[in-house]
Amino acid sequence: MPKYDASEISEIVEMLSFQNLDVRSVTLGISLLPALRHEDIAEGVYSVLLERSSRLSEAVERVSRRLGVRIVTKRVAVTPICDLIDSRASDPEEARRIGLRIAERLDRAAKELGIDYIGGYAAFVDSGFSLGDLGLINSIPEALSSTERLSSLVNVASTMHGINLNAVSLMGEVIKRTAELSDGRGCTRLGVFANAVSGVPFIPGAFHDGREEDPVINVAVSGPGVVEGMVRLVEGGDVRTVHDSIKRAAFKITRLGELVGREVAREMGVRFGSVDLSLAPTPAVGDSVADVLRAIGVSDVGAPGSLLALAILTDAIKKGGAMATSSVGGLSGAFIPVSEDYGMAEAVRRGSLNLQMLLAMVAVCSTGLDMVPIPGDVESHVISAIIGDVMALGVALDKTLGVRLIPVPGAREGEKVDFGGLLGSSPVLGVPKIGSKALLARGGVVPPMVNRLLKG
């Protein structure tokens, strides 16, 4: 029988009770390819989903109750829907209509099963468009504005294939249209990606591909409050001491994720996939990555030194987490969303943090521009140009990066917008009124960069 001393017990109790440590999400990955056996593909998707994820909700709740640990959301990631559309459509309009029918069924199934989000309404167009890709992308504005739990990702760039400028241009328009149809809300479930990978438990980046176990459980942890607490304990210590204390915190946080993942997988009788080490904030005070950066020593997020602090944090999380689980997955870094992180939103309000600094920070973390509300009147080509910048970073640095911009209709720079719940609230960020129309208009695919050659 293990012996614990009181300080070990009180440390865990403090993490779980006062530092907002919880498991952010448990995501079940399932293949929807069996739906191809059905005559009606949308009905097939619906019945496969109902059959294969029916036990998720109950299993998660049972594990949460047994351990006494909060599990915030239950999610499902499915086979990229572009492939299913491709199997049936013969022209772009038919592809769009099939997409919409599948979207409706996915959302309905999620509601019936008590699943918070369903990811995989996805297209992969880094080297060009298939019929299914095009149909899916064209359906996104309507699909996201008529559903509540469906989330969508479009991969427009990769180290292997380059950056599809036509897709970058198109996604600027899709984001604008989605915002107009849904008062901005649909855009909270839409990500544009470079190097999207499967096995990510986070929405909107989650999808399930044929190379993963099937079905599989992937887990995401939270825990910025715990890391901040650890950093504050070593007040006055040098930077290696800080790095070391973050590593220790990351280890413990990740172990909690590993335990929950194993238990849920066991309850469901499916394989456990991986833990995403990423430190994910929530809008709660005391659960902010921005506050961790301040604890490390930057006067405010956005100040010179922010990249340095974020790089230290990201590296320590990876190293601490890597020992805690033998199955690291997903993005594994630090998330710096704006509206979802109270400290980030406050830094915007104070004027410390702007779009340019956020863009720079993307280079040393794992999210990209995430949950950034921008004025509703920003033109789509400006949005596309911003996407292009992030995609260039993703490809040049060979990492996964996403863009989740929310052009809130009617909202002006500095105005506060609220998306509710975990999505949080933030002032609207200013965006340059100028873009690079002529560059985007050139179209075509940017060739893969030289780091592609290192891959053979």
């Binding site: 614990y4 070990e8 017990i9 009770s17 351990l67 006494g68 909690l256 590993e258 335990l259």
Partner: protein
Amino acid sequence: MPNELAVVTVLGADRPGIVAAISSALAEANANIIDISMTVLRGIFSMIMLVDISRSELDINSLREELERKGELVGVKVLVLHESVFRFMQRV
């Protein structure tokens, strides 16, 4: 049957009857206290217990609800976590 353990922590203003309330609830459920540490610091009562619940009549969730209810009656906060949480996070 292997041991299944829970860690019970109790915190609140000190007053008579706290230990009795919590330990009698455990006894009624046939949950066995196997380790206990208790202090009162400037009027604040704190107690940590390791409890074997493998022969308990209640599952850990029902036991948690019962202990929380008993805690409320004597004005203390009770937290019940499965021991595996501590084993995973504190032991390699």
